[in-house]
């Protein structure tokens, strides 16, 4: 505590001295209040980045540079991703709060009435950078306006242990669910199951269950966004398969996992594969001496990534898409817009992109061919994460109702209930009745 205090004091003394020497003189010379008192402040609320280097880059480099370039003050605030929603809600309801707020997935649709149309910025971005992905467009735009400027996708891919899979006779990660299950079974018998969460957690649980459902041909609602069609043969089939898969090949602790548990389980070598952002790999790169395989090699040399397997209806992905919303109540909309433009200039966005080392995938096609993806072949699969993505609510639009289904974990719980012993037909019926209450 002493240390921080001292440093703050020094900082304070420093700024006071600066003010005294130049500031006071300046005020006296010009005879009016200093410019900084009239400066506009733009308040940006974002999640606390998984990659600490990125937040440091922002606070130490980008924000001061932007303040200088734009002549505004920028207040950067970071909170835990889970805590964004209470902040957004209370800001909207009280009509005061951050000017720019980072949105996860369909928050854009949820808060559509309270944000400013960002079509100009988004379309400009799309034009400059080789086109926005369909996924980003679906989530950030309702066809009439852009509720947010697409920022990045935190891709979800399966991280797996190369050597363990090889020992079980697999040279590459299975690309269909049957093989996936067979391999998982083999590995579980050796005490190295696959791991997946079916808990109430916003990232990995829907990241697995939604694409899984879609790949079997299941969907929650028709394209009209009204007719609930979850109760089909395909869905029931998928639920039954999941129950078997769970017993055969999954770490059964997964029912309780949140977004962090599979990282830990993987890093502690209790599971051989799990769907996740690149965070496991990045963490293992950060501390190679800490994470080692049972053979004493750095764990990061034994990790590879693969997309989720195909099902009868195709191959899908569902990722965390982040965008920045400019709030209607903001009194500094022009300045805030300037700041967003500034962030999205190529040189500045590149700083962010490179600090992420592939953890975040940009939302436009141009970056696919960036040399960053070649720098580390392990990360290469992530470059198309945003391309493969499909928005929630399929086949309907990813609107507020779809978000309600997501927030209530209806799809995830449908599988969780079956895994806990409820007959597949019944759990699907339960999901159907819940969905019908949402899509009235």
């Amino acid at each position: 505590m002493v240390e921080t205090k001292r440093r703050n004091v020094i900082k304070l003394a420093g700024s006071a001295a600066a003010l005294a020497s130049t500031g006071m003189a300046g005020i006296l010379a010009s005879g009016r209040t200093p410019a900084f008192a009239q400066q506009k402040t733009v308040h940006w609320l974002k999640w606390v980045d998984f990659v600490p280097a990125t937040d440091q880059m922002f606070t130490k480099d980008m924000v001061p540079a932007a303040e200088k370039a734009l002549g505004i003050k920028i207040k950067l605030e970071t909170v835990n991703g889970n805590d964004l929603q209470p902040r957004i809600t209370s800001s909207i309801q009280s009509g005061a709060g951050p000017d720019i707020i980072m949105s996860f997935n369909s928050f854009t649709h949820l808060y559509a009435n309270s944000v400013v149309d960002m079509s100009d910025l988004a379309e400009d971005l799309s034009k400059r950078e080789g086109g926005l992905y369909k996924y980003a467009r679906a989530i950030c735009s309702d066809g009439k306006m852009f509720m947010g400027v697409p920022w990045a996708v935190i891709g979800g891919m399966i991280a797996y242990r190369k050597s363990w899979l090889e020992e079980a006779g697999a040279t590459k990660f299975p690309d269909n669910w049957e093989d996936y299950r067979a391999l998982a079974k083999k590995l579980k018998a050796k005490g190295r199951p696959f791991g997946q969460t079916l808990g109430h957690t916003f990232g990995d649980a829907p990241g697995f269950t939604y694409p899984y459902l879609w790949s079997w041909g299941g969907k929650e609602v028709e394209a009209d966004g009204k007719t609930v069609v979850i109760n089909t043969k395909e869905t029931i089939e998928s639920v039954k398969f999941m129950t078997g898969l769970w017993k055969d090949g999954m770490d059964e602790g997964g029912l309780a996992w949140d977004d962090t548990n599979n990282n830990r389980a993987f890093l502690s070598q209790t599971i051989s594969a799990t769907l996740n952002g690149a965070s496991i790999y990045i963490e293992s790169l950060r501390k190679p001496e800490q994470y080692q395989t049972e053979k004493g090699k750095p764990l990061n040399t034994d990790i590879l990534h693969a997309p989720l397997p195909k099902g009868p209806a195709g191959q899908f992905g569902f990722h965390l898409l982040q965008s920045n919303m400019l709030m209607k109540y903001s009194k500094n909309q022009d300045a805030a817009k300037e700041f967003l433009k500034y962030l999205h200039t190529e040189a500045n966005y590149r700083k962010f992109f490179e600090s992420q080392k592939g953890f975040a995938t940009p939302c436009t096609a141009k970056w696919e061919s960036d040399k960053l993806w070649d720098a580390d072949p392990v990360m290469t699969p992530y470059k198309v994460a945003a391309k493969l993505g499909q928005a929630i609510g399929f086949a309907g639009p990813p609107n507020a109702k779809a978000q309600e289904v997501l927030s209530k974990y209806i799809v995830t719980d449908m599988y969780a209930k079956a895994v806990q012993g409820m007959p597949a037909e019944e759990s699907v019926k339960w999901a159907e009745s819940e969905l019908k209450k949402v899509y009235v």
Binding site: M1, V48, E77, G95, D259, K287
Partner: protein, 283 residues
């Protein structure tokens, strides 16, 4: 205790007490170990041969360093302390006066007033924080400690009032009557006779109120936004849980450092209120 042999004392008092202390404090021991454990030892599954839950051979202070150098922890501690202290004092002041009025004075609607105060406590915070945000905005208190200092009493006052009512009721009526016969005014009887007797009650409701504000999460999350205005619970969770990775060491260090100093302060108080009490009840 007066009667009984030594073994009796052990069986009926010491052993149960030791068990209580053990169970209540075990998680803290766990936090201490996690604080000093190097990251390399953290990710060992429970059935691994080298799983060492209760000890570490390579203690490190890097997590504590991280907490102070990379986060604003010192500042958060100060904020939390200040907010908790002032809101507790306000609530105690209101609660003691209101509790006295409701417990020992006769006036119309005393019962229903007590109930109304009580009912405000029933309102869940998850419902309140949104409309409350509007009030905070209207008073332009957002992002200042006062947004919490003035809102925490909404759940602390009902609590203090009712707890104090309980304690005041336990004090015999005769005490006051004697004083009044001796010529003391009502006000004086309250300030000099009854309130001193209730000191243990005041202290314990103070401790509880302080703790409740120390703990509060949602209001602090919603009403504060600058990194150096935040309180310990909000600051620690928003800096040390990054995406899908927990920074366990600093997280546990923050939890510990955010609670043990308070316990030490309490230990002085506790001593105080015990001695303050033996004199007063006999009076």
């Amino acid at each position: 205790m007066i009667e009984g042999a030594l073994w009796r004392k052990w069986v009926f008092y010491n052993i149960p007490l030791i068990l209580f202390v053990f169970v209540l404090l075990f998680p803290f021991y766990w936090m201490i170990i996690t604080t000093f454990r190097p990251d390399g030892e953290l990710y060992r599954p429970w059935n691994a041969a080298n799983y060492m839950p209760f000890w570490t051979n390579h203690p490190t202070i890097e997590h504590i360093q991280y907490l102070f150098e990379e986060t604003n922890f010192g500042r958060w501690m100060f904020n939390t302390m200040f907010i908790a202290m002032v809101s507790t004092l306000i609530s105690l002041f209101c609660g003691v006066l209101a509790g006295y009025a409701l417990a020992r004075l006769n006036f119309p609607y005393a019962g229903s007033l007590g109930t109304v105060i009580f009912v405000t406590y029933l309102v869940p915070q998850t419902l309140l924080f949104i409309p409350l945000a509007q009030i905070i905005r209207n008073f332009e208190l957002g992002d200042t400690p006062w947004s919490l200092i003035l809102t925490y009493p909404t759940f602390l006052i009902p609590f203090c009032t009712w707890l104090m009512m309980g304690y005041f009721k336990a004090i015999p009526k005769e005490l006051e009557e004697c004083a009044r016969i001796d010529g003391a005014s009502r006000w004086k009887a309250m300030v000099y006779i009854i309130i001193p007797v209730a000191v243990p009650g005041i202290l314990s409701s103070g401790i509880i109120a302080f703790t409740l504000s120390w703990n509060e999460f949602i209001y602090a999350l919603v009403f504060l936004s600058s990194p150096d205005q935040k309180t310990v619970p909000v600051g620690v969770t928003s800096e040390l849980i990054r995406g899908d990775v927990f920074f366990w060491g600093p997280l546990m260090a923050g939890a510990l450092l955010g609670s043990i100093p308070v316990a030490i302060v309490y230990s002085f108080f506790v001593e105080h209120y015990v001695s303050g009490l033996t004199g007063s009840v006999k009076g």
